[in-house]
C-alpha cells in the first residue's frame, strides 16, 4: 500500500502535515484554518493534531497575517500563510512586496524569509467577485519572491513540502477549481523533481503549449483533442513562474517552432508576455510563428454565469494552435 488515490486538496493537506511533522518550526496561519480547516478544508484536522499554537486562526486582516508571519520568520519560524481567496491577497500586498520580498536583500542575507504564502487561485467555481483572480504576474514581477503553481495532486503533495523547505519566500498558487476534482496516484516513497523546474507533461512535435496551474488540464485536453485531428502538441507544465525554468521550453520551441501560452490571468502583461519575449529573444530563428497568447480578456473578472466564456478553454487553445499552424 505504498500508493493511494488522492485529490489535490488531500495532497496539499498531507504535504502540510508531513512538513509539520518533520519540522516543529513550521506554523500554519490564516483565516479559518483551525477548526474549520480552511474554507477549502486544506488544513483539515491539522489544528486538532498540532494544536492552536501551530495552526493559528488569525484575526481578519491579511496585512496583519503576513506582517506577523514576517516577525515569526525573523524569530526562526517557518510560517505557512493561507490567503483565503486570491482576491484577498491585496491588503497584504505591501507586506509581501516591500517586506517579505526584500528582507533577505536588505539584510544582505543576514535575515531570511522562509515563508510560504498559499493562495487558492483562478476561476471556474461559480463564485462572486474577488474569488476567481489570477494575481501571479504581479508577484512574478517582484524580485525576491519565488512563485510556483501546482497543477495536480501529486505535485501538490511534494511542492508544498519543497516550498516550506525553501529558505526563500514562496508564493504558492493552488488551482482551487482542481481541489476536489480529479484524483491521482501518490507514491509517498518516490523522489520528486526539484521545486523550481518545469515538466514536459506531454511530448509532441507541432506546437508547444505552455500552461500552469488550472490551465494544465485544459492544455492536456486540447492536446488530446488535437491528436484526434492529427496535430501533435507538446504540453509543458511550467510549475515555477519565478524563476522561470526556460531550458525545457527553449528545447521544445526549437523543435516545434510554434508556441501557445495559456493562463487564466489577463493577457496584457500576463506570464505569456514574458514567455513570448524570452522565447522570441532566445529562439528567434526557430520560430515559425509568433508566440500566441491565450488568457483572460483584459477586463475584470465577470459575473460567474459567463465566466466560462471569459476563461481560456479547450476551444480557445485549439483556435490559437490552429492560428499558429496557419501562420
Amino acid at each position: 500500500m505504498s500508493t493511494q488515490k488522492i485529490t489535490l486538496a488531500k495532497g496539499l493537506n498531507m504535504g502540510l502535515r508531513k512538513a509539520m511533522e518533520d519540522d516543529p518550526k513550521v506554523l500554519l496561519m490564516g483565516e479559518d484554518v483551525g477548526k474549520l480547516g480552511g474554507v477549502f478544508r486544506i488544513t483539515d484536522g491539522l489544528q486538532k493534531d498540532f494544536g492552536e499554537d501551530r495552526v493559528i486562526d488569525s484575526p481578519l486582516a491579511e496585512s496583519g497575517i503576513v506582517g506577523t508571519a514576517v516577525g515569526l520568520a525573523l524569530r526562526g519560524y517557518r510560517p505557512v500563510v493561507e490567503i483565503q481567496f486570491d482576491g484577498f491577497v491585496y491588503p497584504a500586498y505591501d507586506q509581501i512586496v516591500c517586506q517579505v520580498a526584500k528582507m533577505t536583500f536588505r539584510s544582505q542575507g543576514k535575515s531570511r524569509m522562509p515563508m510560504v504564502i498559499r493562495i487558492p487561485f483562478g476561476g471556474g467555481i461559480g463564485a462572486v467577485e474577488h474569488h476567481s483572480e489570477s494575481p501571479e504576474a504581479q508577484f512574478a514581477h517582484t524580485p525576491g519572491l519565488k512563485v510556483v503553481a501546482c497543477s495536480n495532486p501529486v505535485d501538490g503533495y511534494w511542492m508544498i513540502q519543497q516550498a516550506i523547505a525553501s529558505d526563500d519566500p514562496v508564493i504558492f498558487l493552488e488551482p482551487k477549481r482542481q481541489y476536489h476534482a480529479d484524483k491521482a496516484e501518490l507514491d509517498e516513497t518516490a523522489t520528486p523533481a526539484p521545486l523550481f523546474t518545469s515538466r514536459v507533461a506531454r511530448r509532441g512535435t507541432d506546437v508547444t503549449v505552455l500552461a500552469y496551474g488550472p490551465t494544465v488540464k485544459t492544455a492536456m485536453a486540447a492536446a488530446e483533442a488535437a491528436a484526434g485531428e492529427g496535430k501533435s502538441l507538446e504540453v509543458i507544465d511550467l510549475r515555477t513562474l519565478s524563476p522561470l525554468d526556460m531550458a525545457p521550453v527553449y528545447d521544445s520551441v526549437r523543435r516545434t517552432g510554434r508556441v501557445v501560452t495559456v493562463h487564466e490571468a489577463h493577457v496584457n502583461l500576463g506570464l505569456g508576455a514574458e514567455l513570448s519575449a524570452r522565447i522570441t529573444e532566445q529562439c528567434f530563428y526557430s520560430l515559425e510563428a509568433p508566440v500566441l497568447r491565450v488568457g483572460a480578456f483584459d477586463t475584470p473578472y465577470p459575473a460567474s454565469r459567463i465566466e466560462e466564456d471569459y476563461l481560456p478553454d479547450l476551444d480557445r487553445v485549439l483556435d490559437a494552435v490552429d492560428r499558429s499552424l496557419e501562420f
Binding site: 483565516e31 479559518d32 483551525g34 477548526k35 474549520l36 480547516g37 474554507v39 492552536e52 499554537d53 486562526d57 488569525s58 484575526p59 481578519l60 486582516a61 496585512s63 496583519g64 482576491g87 484577498f88 491585496y90 491588503p91 461559480g126 463564485a127 462572486v128 467577485e129 474577488h130 474569488h131 496584457n268 480578456f297 483584459d298 477586463t299 475584470p300 465577470p302 459575473a303 460567474s304 454565469r305 459567463i306 465566466e307 466564456d309 471569459y310 476551444d315 480557445r316 483556435d319
Partner: protein, 393 residues
C-alpha cells in the same frame, strides 16, 4: 500558552489600570450591562436612560412586517441556492432587527454602504429584493443604481466600504449638507460591517479619517459573534463599541435583536452626524443564526447550545409577543403579513429563474466609460471566434 498566566510581581502593572477583565465571561453572554435594550426577548417594553423610541405602534407594525418580509427573502434565497438557482447566498437569519432598525432610521438623503449581507437595509431603501439575487446567481455584480436609492453596491472585500463611506461623508461636508439645521437637507452616511471586519486596517483607517475630519458617518457594526468560523474573541478582547473610544468618538452597544433599540440608537447616531457632531460607532450585538453562507458548515466549529440560547432572543418573535400582548395586532394582521410574505416568496422564485444571463460579449462593457481600441479589438476577435462556432454544431 498564548494566554500566559500573569506571573508579574505586584507593582509592575502600576499605572496601567486594572488587569484585563474577563469580558467574555458569563456576565457578557447577554451583551453585558452596557447593552441598550428597549424591548426584551419576552416582548416587554423597557426604558433606557439615554435612548428612547419616539415612534408609535404603527411604526412597530411596520417594523414587524419589514422583518418578516426580510426573513422571507432570506429563506427563499437560501432555498433557491439549494435548488441550484443561486451560486451562493449570505444569510441574514437572526439579524433582521439590526438591519431594519438601522435601515428605518435613515432619511432619503442619507447614503448607505452595505456589506454582502445587508438585505434588510436594502429592503428599507426600496431595492427590489429580486435585484439582490443577481450577484449571488452570477448574472451581475449588483444591478441597482447606487444613486437612485442612495444605497451602494454590496462590497465583498471586507471593510473596504468603510473608507468609501467616510469619503462620501467628506463629500457631504463639502456639499454643505451637514449641520445646516434643515432636517430635509442634513445628511449622513452609514457604513455597515461585521465584527470580523473590525480587524481590517481599512476599517481602523476609516475611524482615523472620520475622526480627523469629523465626518458625518455612522459606523454600524453587526457583531453577529462570528467571522465565518472565528468567534468574536479572536478579533477583540473587549466589547467592540469601545474601539471607538480609542479614536476619539463615541461608541454604544445596542441589542441588535431589538428593533426598537436599534432604531433609536441608530437614529441618535445619525442625528449626531447630520448635526455636524461627527462619527459614532454603533455595535449591534446580535447572532448569525444561520451558516456564514450557504457553502459554510457551522457544525464544524460551533456548539448548537449557543444557537438554542439565541433562538430565545429571536428579533421577530419578541415584536410579535409585544404586539399581541398589548393588543396592537391580532391574527388578521399576522395572517396578512404572512400572505404578503408568501406572495413575495413566489415572486422571488419566479423572478430568480427568469433573470437573464449576461451575453458573453457584455464582458467588454463598462470596463471603461468608453471602450478602448485595445478592448474593441479583443471584443471583435471574440465575436468572430464565437461566430465561428455557429452552424458548426
Amino acid at each position: 500558552m498564548t494566554q500566559q498566566a500573569a506571573g508579574g510581581s505586584p507593582g509592575t502593572t502600576a499605572g496601567f489600570g486594572p488587569d484585563l477583565v474577563e469580558v467574555f465571561g458569563p456576565s457578557q453572554q447577554d451583551g453585558g450591562p452596557e447593552l441598550v435594550q428597549l424591548l426584551t426577548p419576552e416582548g416587554e417594553r423597557v426604558e433606557h436612560p439615554d435612548f428612547s423610541f419616539d415612534l408609535g405602534d404603527d411604526a412597530i407594525l411596520g417594523f414587524y412586517r419589514d422583518m418578516v418580509l426580510t426573513r422571507r427573502i432570506d429563506t427563499e434565497a437560501t432555498a433557491l441556492q439549494r435548488h441550484g438557482e443561486l451560486g451562493i447566498w449570505a444569510q441574514l437569519l437572526g439579524q433582521e432587527a439590526a438591519q431594519i432598525g438601522a435601515g428605518r432610521a435613515l432619511r432619503p438623503q442619507d447614503f448607505v454602504f452595505p456589506t454582502y449581507r445587508e438585505h434588510g437595509v436594502a429592503w428599507c431603501r426600496g431595492i427590489d429584493p429580486l435585484d439582490l439575487l443577481g450577484l449571488f446567481r452570477g448574472v451581475d455584480q449588483g444591478s441597482w443604481d447606487p444613486k437612485e436609492n442612495n444605497f451602494g453596491l454590496y462590497t465583498i472585500v471586507i471593510g473596504a466600504q468603510t473608507l468609501h463611506a467616510t469619503g462620501y461623508a467628506m463629500g457631504m461636508q463639502r456639499d454643505g449638507v451637514v449641520g445646516t439645521g434643515d432636517p430635509d437637507r442634513d445628511a449622513a452616511v452609514i457604513a455597515h460591517f461585521g465584527d470580523g471586519a473590525s480587524s481590517q486596517g481599512d476599517v481602523n483607517e476609516s475611524f482615523v479619517f472620520a475622526a480627523s475630519y469629523n465626518a458625518p458617518v455612522v459606523f454600524f457594526c453587526q457583531n453577529n459573534q462570528w467571522a465565518i468560523s472565528e468567534p468574536f474573541e479572536r478579533q477583540s478582547r473587549i466589547p467592540l463599541y469601545q474601539r471607538a473610544l480609542g479614536f476619539g468618538f463615541p461608541g454604544v452597544r445596542v441589542d441588535g435583536n431589538d428593533v426598537l433599540a436599534t432604531y433609536a440608537v441608530t437614529q441618535a447616531a445619525l442625528n449626531r452626524a447630520r448635526d455636524g457632531q461627527g462619527p459614532t460607532f454603533v455595535e449591534a450585538y446580535t447572532y448569525r443564526m444561520g451558516a456564514h453562507t450557504t457553502t459554510d458548515d457551522p457544525t464544524r466549529y460551533r456548539l448548537s447550545d449557543d444557537l438554542e440560547r439565541w433562538k430565545l432572543k429571536d428579533p421577530i418573535a419578541r415584536v410579535e409577543a409585544y404586539l399581541r400582548r398589548n393588543g396592537v395586532a391580532g391574527d388578521d394582521f399576522f395572517t396578512g403579513v404572512q400572505a404578503e410574505a408568501d406572495d413575495l416568496g413566489a415572486r422571488l422564485r419566479e423572478g430568480c429563474k427568469a433573470l437573464p444571463d449576461p451575453t458573453p460579449l457584455s464582458i467588454f462593457d463598462h470596463v471603461y466609460t468608453e471602450i478602448t481600441d485595445e478592448l474593441e479589438q479583443q471584443r471583435e476577435a471574440f465575436d468572430a471566434y464565437l461566430a465561428s462556432f455557429e452552424g458548426a454544431h
